[in-house]
């Protein structure tokens, strides 16, 4: 047994033990689904009360600077996520009154950032989490490619990282649910497999047709995302882009990228072949002239 496989075995065992100790419910539910289904978070904006508990919990579990959540003045302006705030709550004035919307990484099924990354530092885990690793070379293509403008770069650090929500990947490995879901006092956020979340979202829409807009944002957007949103108003009223389309972003570049190797391999061969074919004739004609 080499060092690599040894560590793998130890790691798996440790994760399993930690998982079963930490949250038996989660790990039991997970055992048969793990590595087969994407996990996700369903955000029900009709339940969100804008208390910012998720922002605080996010900062706590990820070791980020703790925000002062009693300060509600920050809700006056629309905020973006930053390298120190992986989730932010924005307030929108809509047809149905004030709506609070938590904004964070959508964890796309086929993530643009993962496909754009040259060194596989961005990775889509089998459980659906989109994570970042330290082999990043700092090209920031992930930031350019993201349709939701989520990955953020630590410009003021000497060894900068790309920072964004990981859907608490480290906690997931310990068998825990994401910090924001645990902290939410109204269960506006729930954590589960993407399939079960979609079922729950649709159940809520069917049972309360007057309450919900019958669109689940993230079901099809950009090929589907692990973060799903429910709303009482059309999504363009609460800061969501409606121009994203249902095509997974990697699909746009796939055709071109797959063609590149063929161009590099076949083009020299064709040119060489043509060169060879013409070479003889050119010699003949030049010899003939002489």
């Amino acid at each position: 047994m080499d060092r690599r496989s040894f560590l793998q075995v130890i790691g798996t065992a440790a994760t399993g033990v930690a998982g079963s100790l930490a949250a038996p419910g989660v790990s039991r539910a997970r055992s048969d689904k793990e590595e087969k289904e994407f996990y996700g978070i369903l955000v029900d904006t009709t339940r969100c009360i804008g208390c910012r508990s998720c922002e605080l919990a996010c900062a706590e579990v990820n070791g980020l600077p703790l925000p002062d959540i009693t300060d509600t003045s920050v809700l006056e302006t629309e905020r973006q996520t930053s390298e120190t705030q992986w989730t932010v709550i924005n307030a929108y004035e809509t047809d149905k009154g004030r709506v609070y919307v938590p904004k964070r990484c959508m964890h796309c099924n086929q993530a643009a950032c993962v496909s754009a990354c040259l060194v596989k530092a961005m990775e889509k885990q089998k459980s659906g989490h989109v994570t970042w690793d330290t082999n990043c070379m700092g090209c920031r293509l992930c930031m350019v490619s993201c349709p939701f403008d989520i990955p953020k770069f630590e410009y003021d650090k000497s060894l900068p990282k790309i920072q964004k929500c990981t859907m608490c990947w480290d906690r997931f490995k310990e068998g825990k649910i994401p910090g924001c879901v645990e902290a939410c006092p109204t269960e506006a956020l729930i954590f589960g497999t993407r399939r079960e979340l979609l079922e729950e979202a649709k159940r809520r829409i069917y049972q309360n047709p007057g309450t919900y807009n019958s669109h689940i944002y993230g079901e099809r957007e950009a090929g589907g995302t692990s973060h799903l949103y429910l709303s009482s108003v059309p999504f363009d009223q609460i800061g969501f882009r409606s121009d994203i389309g249902n095509t997974p972003y990697p699909e746009y570049s796939k055709g071109f990228l797959y063609a590149v190797p063929f161009v590099f391999v076949l083009w020299p061969v064709i040119m060489l072949g043509m060169n060879r074919a013409i070479e003889g004739k050119e010699k003949e004609t030049s010899e003939g002239h002489e």
Binding site: A23, G25, V26, A29, L42, R47, I49, C51, L56, E60, V61, L66, D68, I69, T70, I177, V181, E182, C184, P185, T186, E187, I190, F191, G192, E196, L197, E199, E200, R203, Q207, G210, T211
Partner: protein
């Protein structure tokens, strides 16, 4: 301080001038005017307009043409009554003919007045065909019970002044007592064989009558647009001594029955339902016929294919019993409990609320059933929720005060009296899904709602969420305050400081 009397004097003079000017304007104009434009929409043959629809300033024209009179634009019939078809030479045979009729009439007049050196209007395309502000003021005019009663009194109960039927044989209008219907019954959206369009008939009938009254110097109705079109239709008019129920010989109570029915008949109190509507049309469409005239048990084209059962039970139509009753749950005093409730339809008790068979006298009160005296089972003490106490202190729930408040709201409401059945129903507002036999001793919230998040039951919120959703949901729907955490549970010291504790401490 010396200046004070002087300032006061100036103010008094200023106000005086202002009032005087206002009064003069009113006198000068003769009729009440507004300068809000009317969007010209009766151009059906031009269904796709190339230009922006005209925003027409009717009252500006009234003022400008005061000398010339209404004849400048409106034709008159043989009896001298004004016609409301515009332009007078309206020709709807083609797009071109209708467009020309409008252009000839409007631009022609403007041109003539310009030539005569009078004050005139625009003559180029872009001056009329422009979008204008303030076109949204216009509401469809309608006659609710109160307006109808005003006319009954003014016309000295002469129904034939307005109501008529068309005698086809003799080609004339005549009054048929007891067959009075809604104007819209014959006068539909467009002019047909059964009558002129509602738009035309209403203006012809109402405005001419009002004008003639004014000319005779009698107390009469208004002729300015905004008097009828200016305000939205009012809410339900409670029929009182001032506004008696419109009498068309309708019965007080009706036994709704059908030969095909398998359910018991419904004893329907027509009189009490009149209290909750402001027009007969609210339920009867335009016809004022009984429901089963058009809604047959198999569905009939005359009833839009809607069967009799659906006509009474459709959940979304405001003309059906169930649809209208359901909409009442959205009222702030009802929505607090009802917003989170599972739809109660299809239960035996739900159906039997209306399907009682023949009932003598007051329909609702007869089967009201109040067997339970809540005071016997109500805990008088406040309930203290401290199971999740952490950053905030315990929350005190004024249990009996809440119930008494809900009972007060419910008892004043006839619909609630009928459907709540008994007082214990109130408990289900919070204690949802409790088994009926457990009604007097319902399970605790935490019997079902677990303290930790349960990923295997995503539809059931955990305890903290259940409390917040239930309490705050009801408060929001009832328009009560929800924005401050400490109004329910006191913060233990500085919440921000507690929240900032290091993880794991």
């Amino acid at each position: 301080m010396k200046k004070t009397p002087l300032v006061c004097l100036f103010i008094v003079i200023g106000v005086g001038i202002f009032v005087l000017l206002g009064a003069m304007t009113e006198l000068y104009s003769g009729v009440a005017v507004n300068d809000y434009p009317i969007v010209v929409t009766d151009v059906a043959p031009l269904n796709t307009l190339e230009e922006v629809p005209i925003s027409f300033y009717h009252d500006k024209h009234v003022r400008a043409l005061e000398e010339e009179g209404c004849e400048s634009c409106h034709g008159r019939n043989a009896e001298g009554k004004y016609l409301f078809t515009y332009p007078p030479g309206r020709d709807e045979t083609s797009r071109r003919s209708l467009m020309d009729a409008y252009h000839d009439s409007c631009i022609g007049c403007h041109d003539d007045r310009l030539a005569a050196g009078k004050k005139s209007g625009p003559v180029t395309c872009g001056e009329c065909h422009v979008p204008r502000e303030g076109t949204g003021w216009m509401q469809p005019a309608g006659m609710d019970y109160a307006v109808h009663h005003t006319h009954e009194v003014a016309m000295n109960q002469q129904c034939d002044a307005c109501h008529h039927v068309y005698n086809e044989k003799e080609d004339r209008l005549e009054y048929a007592a007891g067959e009075e219907s809604s104007c819209r019954d014959c006068h539909r959206d467009v002019t047909t064989a059964s009558g002129a369009s509602f738009r035309e008939a209403a203006h012809f009938g109402c405005v001419n009558c009002h004008m003639e009254g004014q000319q005779r110097g009698e107390k009469s109705g208004p002729i300015a647009c905004e008097a009828c079109h200016g305000k939205a239709e009012k809410g339900p008019v409670m029929v009182s001594a001032d506004i008696p129920r419109p009498d068309r010989g309708q019965p007080e109570t009706i036994l709704l029955s059908s030969d095909d029915a398998t359910m018991k008949d419904v004893s329907f109190n027509h009189a009490t339902h009149e209290l909750t509507t402001n027009t007969c049309r609210a339920c009867h469409h335009e016809t004022l016929e009984s429901c089963d005239q058009c809604h047959t048990s198999r569905g009939d084209p005359a009833g839009g294919g809607v069967t009799l059962v659906d006509a009474f039970h459709n959940k979304t139509s405001m003309r059906s019993c169930v649809g209208c009753h359901n909409s009442m749950k959205e009222d702030a005093s009802c929505a607090g409990c009802h917003h989170s409730m599972v739809d109660a339809s299809m239960s035996e008790k739900y159906c039997s609320t209306c399907h009682t068979g023949p009932v003598e006298g007051e329909t609702v009160a007869t089967y009201m059933n109040r067997p339970i005296d809540l005071s016997a089972i109500l805990p008088d003490d406040d309930i203290i929720i401290d199971v999740l106490e952490d950053q905030y202190g315990p929350s005190t729930v004024p249990h009996s005060a809440i119930i008494r408040n809900l009972l007060d709201i419910s008892k004043g409401n006839r619909l609630a009296d009928a459907f709540h059945g008994d007082d214990i129903t109130i408990c289900a507002g919070c204690h949802h899904y409790s088994p009926p036999e457990q009604a007097e001793n319902p399970p605790l919230c935490r019997s079902c709602h677990t303290i930790d998040f349960n990923p295997e039951d995503l539809g059931k919120p955990r305890l903290i969420a259940a409390y917040h959703l239930q309490c705050m949901g009801c408060h929001q729907k009832m328009g009560l305050k929800t924005d401050d955490c400490t109004s329910c549970h006191a913060a233990k010291g500085d919440v921000a400081a507690i929240a900032r504790k290091e993880p794991g401490q």
